[in-house]
């Protein structure tokens, strides 16, 4: 009752517009001045805290026991890799939106503002919430008009990996999704040392237009937490740690995500933690549309291990056939980065300008061999951009590594303790996770 009263008081303070039984919208274009300043969430989870490579966490404030989040849908500019930035729609400055992290049993209040030019409603995917909070426009709530606000409030009964997203289909394809992790009120029996969440998305963007085509059925930019390889930030694991990777997919394609070097257990789905008897041992999981999977494994094998979608066309960026002068002759001064990206700091193309591929890279009679070329120019030195994507998490990778990491792909780096600690120091010096 107390919570409900506070909710009503808060809603009334928002001014004209009123509060319907299903919620409340209001035409306001600016953030209210009386909103408390967001603060960082206290570490009250029952796990290690979810790491969100390349994403932020949404801070919250406490309002008498209610965790209050300020969520804003807005146009964002999202850099997928150096030199490729898209005009997307996201939450609080990024697409996907920041992680909302809470605990089973928490009472959440999400004050949602629409800074988009069209109506929207936010759906809490998989959560058992009151129907009025389910976020289906014109069915469970009125639309949140441009400049308007809607306050969602509910108690979390579940634990596991969930997500929030616009319930408008095309808006989803513009990037409007974000992870929502609910930690259990009682720790899981198998604790993990590292807990990551990765949101899988896809866009169809023409080479010279930063606006993706949300109507497309084929996609040329595949992202993990809003980044495409090699700009995805590697997962840094200490040797023998137990790791959880939460995968969330909301797009048009199912993605067969494969982890090199390990067999993992599927310990959870978008339905939450699974009984151990239901765990499945695999090395590839097909993450369907609107699904989530939790993978767990012991990082017993040292090395730089790939984690990627195994759809061949999703393993590179803006894949096109390289036939043409690029594949004829000596390759002098050609290759990715020799065009508009030329001169960009760290671009391999710029560095390679005037250079040929490494000796022996292409067979002398290559153009007489049926099937040539396939990957010779799309992966490897031609696509490398080590310096442009350098960050603490890439420290120690072999030169040219970035030429091998493309599309919906990242690295799981299982490191000796000394190297792990060194990178952790680098990360701390850089201000935390990338």
């Amino acid at each position: 009752m107390q919570d409900r009263r506070r909710f009503l008081q808060h809603a009334a303070a928002l001014g004209a517009g009123g509060l319907s039984l299903r919620g409340q919208t209001q035409a306001r274009r600016a953030m209210p001045a009386d909103q408390p300043a967001p603060t960082a969430p206290p570490a009250t989870t029952t796990g290690p805290g979810v790491q969100t490579p390349d994403l932020k966490k949404l801070p919250w404030t406490d309002d008498g026991g209610v965790k209050v989040f300020q969520l804003v849908a807005e146009p964002v500019r999202q850099e997928l890799i150096p030199g490729k930035t898209l005009d997307l729609w996201g939450f609080n400055g990024s697409a996907p939106g920041p992680l909302i992290e809470a605990n089973q049993g928490d009472r959440l209040r999400i004050v949602f503002d629409n800074h988009l030019p069209e109506p929207i409603a936010i759906h809490w995917h998989g959560l058992e919430v009151p129907n009025a909070m389910d976020g289906v426009m014109s069915l469970t709530q009125p639309p949140v008009l441009p400049g308007g606000r809607f306050v969602y409030e509910f108690t979390l009964r579940q634990e596991g990996t969930y997500f929030y997203h616009s319930h408008m289909a095309m808006q989803e394809m513009m990037g409007l999704i974000g992870p929502l992790i609910l930690h259990p009120s009682r720790p899981y029996s198998t604790a993990v040392d590292q807990d990551y969440v990765i949101v899988l998305q896809e866009y169809a963007a023409r080479p010279n237009n930063p606006v993706p085509d949300s109507m497309a059925m084929e996609f040329n930019w595949l992202t993990m937490n809003g980044k495409s390889g090699p700009a995805t930030t590697p997962l840094i694991i200490r040797h023998n740690q137990r790791v959880k990777i939460r995968l969330i997919n909301l797009g048009m394609d199912a993605h067969p995500i494969h982890l090199h070097g390990f067999q993992f257990w599927i310990t959870g789905t978008e339905g939450g933690r699974q009984p151990e008897s239901n765990w499945i041992r695999r090395n590839t999981v097909l993450v369907g549309v609107a699904q989530a999977f939790d993978l767990e494994f012991h990082a017993t094998h040292l090395g730089e291990w790939m984690l990627h979608c195994h759809l061949p066309h999703h393993m590179m960026n803006h894949m096109v056939s390289p036939v043409g002068p690029l594949t004829r002759g000596t390759m002098t001064g050609a290759g990715r980065g020799a065009g508009k990206m030329a001169g960009m700091p760290g671009m391999a193309g710029a560095a390679m300008h005037g250079m040929a591929l490494p000796p022996g890279w292409i067979a002398p009679n290559a153009n007489r061999v049926p099937g040539f070329p396939q990957d010779a120019y799309m992966e490897g030195p031609m696509a490398a951009m080590d310096a442009a994507v350098a960050k603490p998490e890439t420290y120690g990778l072999p030169p040219g590594w970035s030429g091998a990491v493309q599309g919906m792909m990242t690295l799981v780096r299982v490191l000796e303790p000394a190297m792990f600690d060194h990178i952790e120091r680098l990360r701390a010096a850089a201000g935390g996770q990338s």
């Binding site: 030199g83 803006h318 056939s321 690029l326 004829r328 990715r336 020799a338 193309g349 153009n367 099937g371």
Partner: protein, 421 residues
Amino acid sequence: MSRVIVIAAALSAACAGQAGLTLAQLQQMALARNPTLQQAQDAAAAAAGEARQAGMWPNPTVGYQGEQIRGGAFQGGEQGAFVQQTIPLGGKLQAAQAAARAREQGRRAELAAQRQAVRTAVALAYYDALAAARALTLRGQGLTLAEDAATTTAQMANVGQADQPDEARAAIAVETAQAAQAAARAAVHAAWARLAAVVGDPGLIPQPLAGHLAPGPAALDTAGYVERLLTQSPALAAARSGVAAAEAELAAARKRPIPDLELRGGVEDNRELQANGRAAGAQAFASAGVALPLFNRNQGGVAAAVARLAGARAEVTRLRLALRAEAAPVLARYRAAAQAAAAYARMLPQAERAEHMLDMDYWDMTAGYPEVLAARRRRLALQRAQARTLRELWRSDATLRGMLLTAGLRPAEDGMTQGMR
């Protein structure tokens, strides 16, 4: 064939911005060599001679005169010498000379018109040659593009992205491009031959032409063009000179019945014996007379002159109408070409930008090479269309600035009697 290649190379050099023969140089060469100008100058000189001749007095006559020449008492009769002179009266001589001078003026007006026609004809041939060279350059690029496309198609077939019909289409495109290039090369040859002929030097060695088709001529004020044409046309000036000559001819014809004064005088020795038995001796004689214009008053000549004057005046009227009629389609072509040229000037940078972007995209491996080739093909098509448009713009501009006189190898007299060409 080697000569064609030399011509093509020479004319292509112009497109590359190399120095070469300018239009002004070619026009100066034509003014010195074009035979129609020599013909017109000869006609003017002949008219000048006729004018000079028309003012000449008739020559006097001297002679022997004898009468009653026999023997006997008359002895030797009357024998002596005379002088006879015709004195033109009534200003006939001046009128004839004025008519001749008017004809001379007409010839000089025809010469001025022909000089304009030669200059314009050279300009037209020059722009044709520039356009032909540009077309050959673009057809060469088109062939290179088609060959690139054929190679690319073969590569695409090698990776399963193209089929045999695609390769056949690419091969056909190469053959088509080769034929187009050959036709363009022949057009270059023809354009140079025409330019050399109108310049008056058929053996003119092919060499680079200075200048470019783009961006086109300075804008012409077309609003008052016809009015300016009707006041400044050299052809119309020549026709008006024809009227003046016809008027002078009529004046001369009207004076022609005025009789000349015929004077005759002399001295003679009269051998006839007088009463005193002596011969009469020296004596003089004289006569003066005029022809009475009773029957021949030059009626037919006057009537003919009147008719010729009417004809000359009608020629002015006809020419004014013809100029209007000829100017209308040329103005229309000029306006359409100017509008199209402006559009191409806007479109081409867009096409080039699109091509450049796709080219860069290809090297960044974000666009396929067939897209680059398609963009290059679209740009080339635009450039060919632009070259055709600029040729039409330059030609119509030169024709209008040349007061519609374009026949540089047609005799001036023929031109003047036919009106402008």
